[in-house]
Symmetry: C2
Subunit: 287 residues, 2 copies
């Protein structure tokens, strides 16, 4: 394997789910050859491959694990279910530590079955963070709350805006709990610029994730994310705003899209890198 | 036709799209028999039936037209397309006046094709309101800006929150431009209580519309609204908050749901009334 050196891709990370057609070794090999220095991993494929072995594979290729997806799903009507979720999340923290990433992405969970109490569900998330944050900090892992688009509020994530994520995160020290800025989830929000500033000021930006918004949305609205540049999100603006807020960490491309999965993975990887340069990076003359 | 008298339904209005299986005369007859005093109408079926004739039909049954859906779709790259939209909206105002309703619901339109400029599109909406509001006021019609759920921001409505709708409306006198509070679009937003207060204080609430949120969302996310009580929206809370904000106008049930359309319309109408009493109205002991 020849690791390519492409300075313009220095911050780029490929989230594993963008290239679901790749095995973990294929992903690592593809990124190394393509000059992409980071990978974002998911628990299930890492578990199948073995976390120790995955950590070695990535390290030996000279790459970095930029995040582990994901913990969370804290909300439940039954205390026993919430306790089980916490156990599972402690395991996720351990896996993140093994992989050598300091970022565990959290998707909070939706409304408990039969509940109409959004505020109550958000407090369950806060309760879980209170348990989990010190445990994670002790292992060098920061929890990264990801606000998901409001269309997921019922069944997936009761944290819908960057403001809500920060309201939760700010109850904890910044080195313990941060937030994920994901363009797919936040692009529509006219308060997001101010919240990015707030996140930067507080040292809370744990990750910047990219996907574009394309319509029509598919049934279930999970797998309809667009390749960078194919949709209506001003991706460059998000990069510029997070830059201005002091974030200089990885920029992770996370696109769930069956159309991309059906294509040759190496070709998609090259396309992502090309789109990243064209639609995300600084342009000459940019302030 | 025997008009039933049910005092508990005094504020209830059936939006025509909830009962798409009904012709306009069937809708009017069903509402009169069922004790539902209001109907919300749509331009296309009203146009087919004739606006004058529709106005007479509703009036003769002792019912009220609570709103006309809908104007809007102001956003477009080409000035000629924006001018055509304004012409069409003036026609919608005239139809509302003919029907005797003072409320024309506006869905602003999505991003112009190829655009990534949400703020610019929102300014196009403001420009259109500036043209249209005095024209409508001269005909006794108030424009009612409806914020749509953020999942429609790209292709249908760049106004996604009640705060944004109020930011637009407040550039005009309250008797010219109001807002629609629709539970389906706003339920997820933890700032909505404060914005309902703001809307009430300014005399801006033109309509309260109800539908429940159920998952999974269907492809295209248009026709997945739930019957009252079938989903996770705290409908009673929305009614109580708008009450507290001083709104005492019609409460319109607007559910786009093929499952409801496939059933007997009279049965669905009775079910809506029953659900309304159970899930929306004041309960004893409520503050």
């Amino acid at each position: 394997m020849t690791a390519a050196h492409r300075p313009e891709l220095a911050r780029l990370s490929l989230n594993q789910e963008t290239l679901r057609q790749f095995s973990l070794p294929e992903l690592v090999d593809g990124c190394a050859r393509g000059g992409v220095p980071g990978v974002g991993l998911w628990r299930a494929p890492v578990g199948e491959y073995g976390a120790d072995r995955a950590a070695r594979l990535v390290r030996d290729a000279g790459l970095t694990v930029t995040s582990l997806c994901r913990g969370g799903f804290f909300t439940a009507a039954e205390p026993a279910a919430r306790a089980a979720a916490l156990d599972d999340n402690r395991a996720a923290v351990d896996e993140a530590a093994t992989l050598g990433t300091d970022t565990l992405v959290l998707v909070s969970g939706g409304l408990p079955a039969g509940s109409r109490d959004l505020a109550g569900a958000r407090e369950q998330v806060a309760d879980a963070l209170r348990e989990l944050a010190p445990y994670a900090a002790g292992r060098g892992v920061r929890l990264a709350i990801e606000p998901l688009h409001p269309m997921y509020a019922a069944d997936r994530c009761v944290v819908s805006t960057l403001a809500q994520a920060l309201d939760l995160a700010e109850r904890f020290p910044p080195e313990q709990v941060g937030v994920v800025v994901d363009t797919y989830h936040l692009w529509w929000d006219d308060t997001v610029d101010g919240q990015i500033e707030r996140a930067g000021r507080g040292g809370r930006i744990a990750s910047l994730q990219l996907a574009d918004w394309v319509t029509p949305l598919p049934e279930g609205v999970l797998l309809g994310r667009g390749q960078l540049g194919d949709g209506c999100v001003d991706l460059r603006r998000f990069r510029a705003r997070t830059d201005a807020a002091g974030y200089d960490g990885p920029i992770e491309v996370e696109i769930f899209n069956p159309g991309l999965w059906a294509r040759d993975g190496t070709e998609v990887l090259a396309e992502v890198a090309e789109r990243y340069v064209r639609h995300v990076l600084r342009v000459s003359g940019e302030e």
